[in-house]
Amino acid sequence: MANEAVFTLEPGALSSLAPMSIVLATAFLVLLWDVIAKPRDRGILLGFSIAGLALAAIVSLILWSHADPVSHTIFSGRLAIDRFSLFFNLVFSVVATLVLMISRDYLIREQIDVGEYYALIMFSVFGMMLLAAAADLLMLFIGVEAMSIPVYVLVAFNRSRIRCIEGALKYFILGAFATAFLLYGIALLYGQTGTTSLADIHTFLEGSSGSHVLVPVGIALMIVGFGFKIGSVPFHMWTPDAYEGAATPVTAIMATGVKAAAFAAIIRAFLAFSPSLVMFRVVLWVIVALTVVVGNIAAIRQLNLKRMLAYSSIAHSGYMLAALLAIEPIWGPQTSNAMSSLLYYLLAYLFMNIGAFGVIVVVGSRENEAVDVRDWAGLGFKYPWLGAAMALFMLSLGGLPPTAGFFAKFYLFSAVVHAGYTPLIILAVLMSAASFFYYLRVVVYMYMQPSEGACTPTVSPLAAVAIGVSALATLWLGIAPSALFPFLEWAQRSVAVLL
């Protein structure tokens, strides 16, 4: 079936592509508007981008509510436009909107407010959407590339800063290696199974006796490639440097959007590989344990906030990876629970992380980026709202009730415990207790140190809205995870189509 060049254009295929097409069209529009009309104020490009994202989000929402409860693929099984991918479309639209809102001041401050920034963000969002919809290993690869290449450029965007260049170079070179690993894994899987379609690979693995040598090798190589993208130990070396070097809003999108997209692809791929995943249990167990321990222990030493958040994002990757251990060879409620808790975790994680980066953006200035936590001394009294928001994000990242971070961890850990990985979760809980040391250090500096901080925050209305929305969402997901806004139910129904 894969050898025959038969393509069918399913009815409704093009309209279900609408969110992606809108984002791509906006990206081109922004790119060309900038060079042809040469607007003196780039605010209009920001407006265009946000309008495009909002439209994409609305269309995704409409498609989500009309979508079949079963997964359906278009372009002969290349893309799956189902509730799962539409859910992620929505997530990426929100992430990119919030990031664009906190970008504006930063770009003007650093004198890098050029149109390409907005276009690159939109191009990478397109890649993320493609990645979340990929039902075929080749589409998955194209999605990874379409997402990563704009992000490589974005990391190097602030080229007058040497740190920026260093981080971008490391990210690019290691990213190219990781992509090669991913592609090599895909090639080996294709060599053994004769198909690149995830559904066909699943059928093949279910029927195989397990004597296919190339399948585990292929899956292992793909784990390396994915492990790099999400920054799991031992593939995390680039993370602190790239996160520290990149412009803070770019760091925010790397820590949230890119990671969420990579997890979307991992979920699809791992569910397809589930019959063969049993032999990777130990490998995954070790990766999760290492990621959680190294991420949290290394973060304790960091006084640089961006590096601290980089290590914290490594640790969070570890928690989320643990959910993959709960995938059963034959999917059942346990798999479904773990996957929906993973989606919920991603949702909670993105709000608190973008919020934290947003506060870092507004606290910094051209002369002093204010990434050293000692510069934050006394900030909580001088700027009560900013201080309260940052404290909320830090507590949520640590996982204290009643914040989003607590419920996310609670659902995810209990799903993994039900799968029988209690010792691993005990380790994860101990490590997340240790993480309070470095999260609370920020709060301690803000509220319990004499006010000698050198930072001078300037909060524009746009950034204030973004931080406010993140803070509200963090609280909302924590206080009423299901009652007011059924995020968890959404996640469950979005995952249900995969199983």
Partner: protein, 123 residues
Amino acid sequence: MDNPYVALLFSFSFAIIFSLVFVNLSRIFGQSRPESEKLDTYECGAPPIGNARTRISVKFYMVAILFILFDIEAVFVYPWAVSLRSFVAKGMGTFVFVEMLIFLGMLFLGWLYVLKRGALKWD
């Protein structure tokens, strides 16, 4: 000898053995009389001037990379042009044609960007 990979193994072994053998044969039996002229950089017979590691204007790089980009485009168009007829026979002609138009349209937008941004301006 049923395994089809045996042929591959032979191919690899021969490649390795022959390359090692020939390189070493010429090293052992070949005459080597180095002199300053011979060891110098070969640059089409002309004596080399200065160091090759100087700064080169980024304009060359821009032209080169844009050339490669649009060269690749041509590579994609060729197989499409060859197989278009068979798609038309299967009744997929319009779809495949429009697909290529979309692809070329995106590249056109990229070219427009390059032009307007002034990446091809030499002065």
